[in-house]
């Protein structure tokens, strides 16, 4: 078979292609060198601009930092640090949409980056967008941190908890707090901060447990004693409160709030006729005492608000009537009921009137509640009685 004669062009083609390839390789090398130099120069300029911007930002001038960050990005547009800084500056100057655009762009590139997620979460906080904030905070907590991951995760969760507490999202905050306790180091300061947040989230048992955990680590922590005393007080555990508050005052005598609470707790303990481990005689004595206190409170309140009380109750009525008649709870009615009940005090120790202490205490507590409603919050023994009434209602519920 005849073979075709190669044309001049066909002979030349491999040489031409080889020459073009060599030129292309040389061109690549040359351009590569050129671009490397340009990029190095641009990165240097960008870094200077970034540093200037950072200084402005840290000095509390995010508006001034914007131009520098933008300049930095114009020379090194892919630098995530510059983008993040610009986004933060934009956020702090209230340009939330623009900040979000930058952050979302960064987030698309690395959705697992916790720093970006944290910035997005803070942006969502500024927007009051609870769902987005929670989502991005969680992404930040469970994402990748380039340094100090444990510390940053804890910090992010604390930020989320504070955001939830601000918005009264107590159940969510409590859940986050419980998760946070799992990773807390044995550091009294951090444990104390968490305990305080448990208290703010109205999770009093966990708050008390956390304060107690702090006290195991630091027996001289006045704040922990004050916190534990306060929580125990709110829980109606006045004995514990009294102990903790006393220690808090010992360690920090200037703690006026604890002192006030201690006084109240001591009064509750000294007044409450239903306290366990007291004798019947003591109980009767306390009932008589608080009964008279309630009567005085009622009279003082009526006087203060210019309400006339009936002068005396009918003896016959008083003898036979129920000390808790179905009359209203206004001050005159309560006064009538109080006067009617007064003769019964003598029968407190009689086994035939086993329910009399409860009946009298109910009346006393109604008087205290009504007086508090009409004349404002009480102090001293009246406050103690009010707290006792609250605790009794909680038990009834």
């Amino acid at each position: 078979m005849d073979s075709p004669a190669p044309t001049a062009q066909a002979r030349r083609t491999p040489l031409v292609l080889a020459a073009l390839t060599i030129i292309a390789i040389l061109g690549f090398a040359g351009v590569s060198r050129l671009v490397t130099r340009l990029k190095a120069n641009e990165k240097r300029i960008a870094f200077h601009a970034f540093e200037a911007g950072l200084a402005e930002f840290q000095a509390g001038h995010p508006e001034r930092a914007l131009d520098d960050f933008r300049a930095a990005l114009s020379y090194d547009r892919d630098n995530p640090q510059y983008q993040l800084s610009l986004a933060r500056a934009l956020r702090d100057t209230g340009r939330l949409d623009e900040s979000e655009a930058y952050l979302l762009h960064l987030w698309e590139g690395s959705p697992q980056d916790s720093t970006i997620n944290l910035a997005l979460a803070r942006l969502a906080v500024r927007r009051h967008s609870v769902e987005d904030a929670i989502r991005h905070y969680h992404n930040a907590i469970y994402g990748v941190w380039s340094s100090e991951p444990d510390k940053n995760r804890r910090q992010s969760r604390i930020e989320l908890i504070d955001f939830l507490l601000q918005g009264k999202g107590f159940p969510q905050a409590q859940a986050e707090l419980i998760a946070l306790t799992q990773v807390l180091p044995p550091d009294p300061a951090q444990q104390l901060a968490v305990a305080d947040r448990f208290r703010q989230a109205q999770d009093l048992p966990d708050a008390l447990a956390r304060y107690q955990a702090v006290l195991k680590l630091d027996r001289k922590n006045a704040s922990a004693f004050a916190g534990a005393g306060d929580v125990a007080f709110q829980l109606g555990r006045y004995r514990t409160a009294e102990n903790d508050l006393r220690k808090a005052i010992e360690l920090n005598p200037s703690d006026a709030e604890s002192r006030r609470q201690l006084e109240t707790a001591s009064l509750v303990l000294a007044t409450d006729p239903f306290l366990r481990r007291i004798s019947d005689a003591e109980r009767d004595r306390r009932i008589v005492s608080v009964f008279n206190q309630a009567g005085n409170r009622l009279k003082a309140c009526a006087r203060a608000i210019h309400v006339d009380l009936p002068s005396t109750a009918s003896p016959g009525k008083a003898t036979n009537a129920n000390p808790m008649p179905s009359a209203g709870n206004d001050l005159p009615s309560l006064w009538t009921r109080w006067q009617a009940a007064r003769p019964k005090l003598r029968k407190l120790s009689s086994p035939a009137n086993a329910d009399l202490p409860d009946v009298l205490m109910d009346l006393i507590l109604q008087i205290e509640q009504q007086a508090a409603q009409q004349c404002g919050p009480p102090g001293g023994v009246d406050l103690a009685l009010l707290l006792i009434s609250r605790d009794r209602e909680a038990v009834d519920e």
Partner: protein, 593 residues
């Protein structure tokens, strides 16, 4: 190894040695011819890749040069000193004017028209000097803050490189002519980091027609140049496009308004350039040294007075507009100032492109229109960034009059196909209104001002072409059947005035018989013969009604009567055309024009 298929001849023992040698020579010639053509085609495709690579490298260098000159002339700080803002474009304008007047006279303007002229007028010849001049002058001008872009110069640099390479390799004239658009596509694709848009633009604006022969080369060069560009400068799109979405169909109305406003802005922009450019060029020659400098001075002044965003290509500010960083009033001001600045730069003869300014004006205008619409209709969910993005496409469609490129450009730049419907709506509105208000596209206007008339795809697309049906007459009253005898035919046609009759052949095809032939056959006593037996084997050509009338020109000298048949049934006659019909129709059309 030969890739030509073997041409085999049937074995024939009777052939002589002379015949054998003649056959062998013919086969060999056929192989050589085939191989030469095939190798040239293949070589051209490979060469397209190299052109893409070289253009990509050149564009990367061009971008680097622009950045260097910008840093050197305007400084690296975000707020340059007033002296730099006004002084740099003025001084560089003077330098560029000297270079353009004395060294590189052909590098004025954008470069798109020069490339087109190379294809249609100069057989693909673009001096290499043009690439050098365009590179230097454009880099200096754009870097100094003249309101021009790097894309069109990149297009011309690519075309110049391709042309120089083709001449060096002594390619045929036909191939040499095709190389300019191949290089142009490569240059534009690298400059824009958008290969599809580059290919479409070159087809829409430079080549002016869809040609399968060159499409492969254009695509290859565009892709290879983009690969090179991304290798060095990264794969990121020019803009960081914010999250965009098309939520409700009612929002299309808002986009249509944007299309309307964009069209008006484009018409103003095009008219400003079209009005001032020829007037400034006829000024005395010494003023040509000052025109770019004056343009630079005024642009610097605009920058110094509070709108430095209009200086240079302005990509970073398009980016900022897309991210809602400017109030709508400022966006509107920027759009207007950019039109003024670009008009100044362009009509002064400063080398540089109009792509970037067009996108800038579009983005600012889009953002402004979006801002106004959102102010009055707060229920609109679309962000200003989305309007800015669509606005870029709108100006591209209305000003550069490349509707397909405009749509794909937005898609490539945004990487978001959910926005395609608003883009198409807005671009179509803008294109249609712009075309109605400004019949001659800007590039054609510039070419005509330069004394050239080059083909335009828009004109071809919009041209009303004559079709066969426009010249066709209804079918003749009588269609003869091929099985009929001459005697029957003679009887049937005796009283008819026609001199020629169509014959429907069996099973398919058409023929004709003249009365003269029929009469002669009858005189010769052949009346018993059928028409099929006396008519020539060769059938009449036939046409379809929707074919361009040009198609009929090929046949009007072959037959007196050409049947026009239905495409679904070739035996069904729709009409007939004759030479006189076709010529009369053309004459009538010429009179109408």
């Amino acid at each position: 190894m030969s890739e030509a298929p073997a041409i085999s001849s049937p074995p024939n023992a009777a052939v002589t040695s002379h015949e054998r040698s003649t056959n062998a020579l013919a086969r060999r010639l056929a192989r050589l011819t085939f191989q030469t053509n095939f190798e040239e085609e293949r070589f051209f495709l490979i060469l397209s890749i190299f052109i893409g690579v070289f253009s990509g490298l050149a564009v990367v260098c061009f971008r680097v040069a622009i950045d260097w000159s910008r840093i050197a002339l305007m400084g690296a700080l975000p707020h340059p000193h007033a002296l730099r803002i006004i002084g740099a474009p003025t001084a560089v304008g003077l330098l560029v004017a000297v270079l353009v007047v004395h060294v590189f006279p052909q590098v004025r303007g954008s470069g798109v028209n020069q490339t087109k002229a190379a294809l249609y007028v100069y057989n693909g010849y673009i001096p290499f000097k043009n690439a050098v001049g365009k590179f230097l002058c454009s880099a200096l001008a754009i870097g100094s803050g003249q309101s021009l872009g790097p894309e069109d110069p990149s297009l011309q640099i690519g075309a110049s490189l391709a042309s120089a390479l083709g001449r060096r390799l002594e390619l045929s004239r036909e191939k040499l002519r095709l190389l300019a658009p191949v290089g142009a596509a490569a240059g534009l694709a690298a400059a824009f980091n958008a290969p599809i848009s580059a290919v479409l633009f070159v087809i829409e604006e430079v080549i002016g027609r869809w040609s399968a022969g060159i499409l492969g080369s254009v695509v290859l060069s565009a892709i290879s140049s983009v690969v090179v560009m991304r290798w060095f400068l990264g794969a990121d799109a020019i803009f960081r496009v914010p999250v965009t979405a098309f939520v409700h169909p009612a929002e299309l109305l808002a986009y249509a308004v944007l299309g309307l406003v964009g069209a008006l802005a484009a018409v103003i922009f095009a008219n400003a350039i079209g009005y001032f450019r020829p007037r400034l060029r006829v000024f005395p020659r010494w003023t040509h040294y000052l025109q770019p400098a004056l343009a630079g001075f005024f642009i610097g002044l605009i920058g110094w007075l509070g709108a430095p965003q209009v200086m240079g290509a302005g990509y970073e500010f398009i980016d900022q507009a897309m991210h809602d960083q400017f109030a709508w009033k400022f966006l509107a001001i920027l759009a207007g100032l950019k039109i003024i600045a670009t008009t100044l730069s362009f009509v002064s003869g400063t080398p540089g492109g109009m792509f970037a300014p067009t996108l800038f004006v579009g983005a600012m205008l889009g953002g402004a229109v979006g801002g106004v619409e959102r102010h009055f209709f707060p229920l609109l969910t679309v962000s200003t960034g989305t309007y800015a993005l669509v606005g870029m496409g709108v100006l591209f469609a209305a000003f550069l009059r490349a509707p397909m490129t405009s749509v794909f450009m937005v898609l490539e730049v945004s990487g978001n196909y959910s926005i395609i419907v608003p883009v198409i709506v807005a671009n179509t509105v803008a294109y249609v209104i712009s075309r109605a208000l400004q019949p001659v596209p800007i590039f054609d206007l510039l070419t005509r001002q330069d004394g050239l008339v080059l083909p335009s795809l828009e004109e071809q697309r919009e041209e009303e072409i004559l079709r066969v049906e426009d010249a066709m007459k209804p079918g003749t009253a009588l269609i003869l059947d091929a099985s009929a005898s001459l005697e029957e035919v003679a009887i049937r046609t005796r009283d008819l005035p026609d001199k020629i009759f169509l014959v429907r052949m069996s099973p398919a095809g058409w023929s004709s018989i003249t009365r003269e032939l029929l009469d002669r056959m009858m005189k010769e006593g052949k009346g018993a013969l059928t028409l099929a037996s006396v008519l020539p084997i060769r059938r009449l050509p036939y046409l379809y009604p929707d074919l361009p009338l040009d198609a009929a020109l090929r046949y009007i000298n072959q037959a007196e009567l050409i049947p026009v048949v239905n495409r679904a049934d070739l035996r069904e006659l729709e009409g007939v055309v004759t030479r006189d019909d076709v010529l009369s129709r053309y004459q009538a059309d010429a009179v109408d024009d």
